[in-house]
């Protein structure tokens, strides 16, 4: 197997706090790799550096063998990296389908078009409808995003991540704030797309992580202390001490 994403010696500090401390991680092509860690372990900071919204102080990020450490977010998106947000990050004033259609349009590459109504473009609209079908939101397509529930927003995030058809999906706590029923729906949803994309999943929900992940890395104080299969992680003493035992 080849590494799609390779992180070498990443460091990032905010004032006196080391959010990322000599972080090394390698994500294989096609795997669902979960990163777990206690609150404040630097999980979101790591994702931000991977998608380019924050620049590491030192270290390298390789994507498909290419150094992307200093690329801005939109260029990384063109290379095939997409992310979802822990705190829902949608365009609230727009309709649900417009949100997804915009993600498709980004890939379509024809955005400097000034006159033809975007909403009449059937190749974007139909595909957007398909994706909304996958996350069970067809009925809400024309609703304003603001009017949807939190669980529905989380599913929209997945639809948008899928729309970009990215090779590498960075999912930042897709289960955050979901009820147990909604969480199960989300697990099923992710199980459905697993294998089609390489997924780096950051998640608090242990049940979900152990049910979905091919490999798990444990992040503590900005540093990976262990990587392995779910069974190996379960049996790892250092992990139990640092994290699982305290739950």
């Amino acid at each position: 197997m080849s590494a799609v994403l390779q992180i070498d010696g990443l460091n990032k500090s905010f004032g006196g706090i080391k959010a990322t401390d000599n972080l090394n991680l390698s994500v294989q092509k096609g795997e669902l790799h979960a990163v777990i860690g206690p609150n404040g372990a630097g999980k979101t900071t790591m994702i931000s550096q991977l998608c380019g919204s924050q620049r590491p102080d030192t270290g390298r990020i390789l994507y498909a063998g290419r150094d992307i450490t200093t690329l801005p977010p939109h260029k990384r998106a063109h290379l095939g990296i997409t992310r979802s947000y822990q705190i829902t990050s949608l365009i609230m004033e727009m309709s649900v389908i417009d949100n997804v259609a915009l993600a498709l349009q980004a890939r379509d590459g024809h955005s400097f078009r000034f006159l033809r109504p975007a909403r009449s473009l059937s190749h974007l609209r139909d595909k957007a409808m398909d994706l909304l079908g996958k996350v069970d939101l067809t009925a809400k397509a024309e609703h304003r995003t603001k009017a949807l529930s939190h669980g529905e927003h989380r599913r929209m995030e997945i639809a948008i991540a899928l729309a970009s058809d990215a090779e590498l999906m960075l999912l930042d706590e897709p289960m955050a704030g979901l009820g147990s029923h909604e969480s199960m729906q989300m697990v099923e949803l992710l199980r459905g797309i697993k294998g089609q994309h390489t997924i780096l999943l950051i998640e608090h929900d242990m049940e979900a992580v152990f049910a979905l992940a091919d490999r798990i890395s444990v992040l503590v104080y900005g540093h990976i202390i262990a990587t392995g299969t779910p069974d190996e992680i379960r049996g790892n003493e250092a992990v139990q001490h640092a994290y699982l035992g305290e739950e």
């Binding site: 949608l90 609230m92 004033e93 349009q105 980004a106």
Partner: protein
């Protein structure tokens, strides 16, 4: 059709019919008032593209209007005093010049302004506008802060701008064209990105859009349109002064957009109508009209969400 659509039609119909009627029945003053209103409405419509749909609160829009007016006045000045040929008074030269000059100014200032956000963007657009203001004040050739009389209006073969009815007609048609244009742009793929960037720029960048470039293009289009409005304004007043570019003028344009309803097609026009008509009516009653005027405007902004257009139908229409 939506309620908002009907309101738009009604407002535009009234605006097209009433002023010429006043003129033909011996009240030329009201046509004058309406011409100024319609021209300012074009500027407000152009501002709405970036302010309403783009979420870019530009506090320097009057600079484009003023530049557009000077693009009419300066060639006309040289035609009269320094022997430039008749081409310098041609509408086909002056109007494109106004549009082009403003597009270039928007491009150069936008490159810098759009690197900033929020309050800083407001301040820096205002700063650039004031720079142009003081630049014009310092050029004595063009009258400095006394302003410049435009001795001859833009010359067209098929229309005579010295005729108030024809000037109004041109302004009115231009307003409709600018409204249609902005509406098309807003609903296009470009417009979707612009609006997406207003709602959530980080998300748009993650999707792969270079938000900066989209905003810059919108800024240039908006500035160019405002420049066109300025060229019309110069033709209407036949006099220009730096005062036209003052930051308070930019504030008025902003007010029209917000009062009428930002990010709606008819909003800026409604805002311009109410602004100009109120100003006119109140100043009849008292020389202290600014006070009730200000209070009324505050009431609308505070109590009517989404501006006047927001009272009719949903915001997206």
């Amino acid at each position: 059709m939506t309620t908002r659509g009907w309101i738009t039609l009604a407002v535009m119909a009234l605006l097209g019919v009433l002023p010429p009627l006043f003129f033909l029945t011996g009240n030329p003053f009201y046509l004058d008032l309406a011409t100024r209103l319609v021209i300012l409405a074009i500027a407000a419509v152009s501002l709405n593209l970036i302010l309403g749909y783009g979420g870019l609160v530009s506090f320097g829009h009057a600079a484009f209007v003023g530049l557009g007016a000077y693009a009419v006045g300066i060639p006309a000045h040289h035609w009269l005093y320094t022997g430039w040929g008749d081409w310098a008074t041609m509408g086909y030269v002056q109007l494109p010049l106004a549009v082009l000059a403003c597009a270039v100014f928007a491009l150069l200032t936008g490159l810098v302004c759009l690197r900033t956000k929020g309050v800083y963007f407001i301040m820096i657009t205002m700063a650039f506008a004031q720079m142009i203001y003081y630049l014009i004040v310092s050029i004595e050739e063009y009258g400095g802060d006394d302003g410049l009389v435009i001795d001859t209006r833009s010359q067209f073969a098929w229309i005579d701008l010295d005729n108030p009815l024809q000037l109004f007609g041109l302004a009115y048609v231009s307003l409709i064209v600018s409204m249609v244009l902005v509406r098309l742009i807003v609903n296009s793929r470009f417009g979707m990105v612009l609006q997406g960037a207003k709602g959530n720029p980080d998300r748009m960048a993650t999707l792969g859009f270079n938000v900066y470039v989209f905003r810059l293009v919108a800024y240039v289009i908006s500035g160019a349109m405002a420049g066109y409005a300025g060229a019309l304004l110069g033709n209407f007043t036949t006099f220009i002064s730096p005062e036209m570019m003052d930051w308070s003028r930019s504030g008025e344009l902003m007010f029209m957009v917000i009062l009428g309803g930002a990010s709606t097609t008819v909003g800026p026009v409604l805002g311009a109508v109410v602004f100009i008509v109120l100003e006119e009516v109140l100043s009849h009653f008292t020389i202290y009209w600014h006070l009730p005027f200000g209070l009324l405007l505050m009431a609308v902004v505070l109590f009517v969400r989404g501006g006047l257009a927001g009272m009719f139908g949903r915001k997206e229409d």
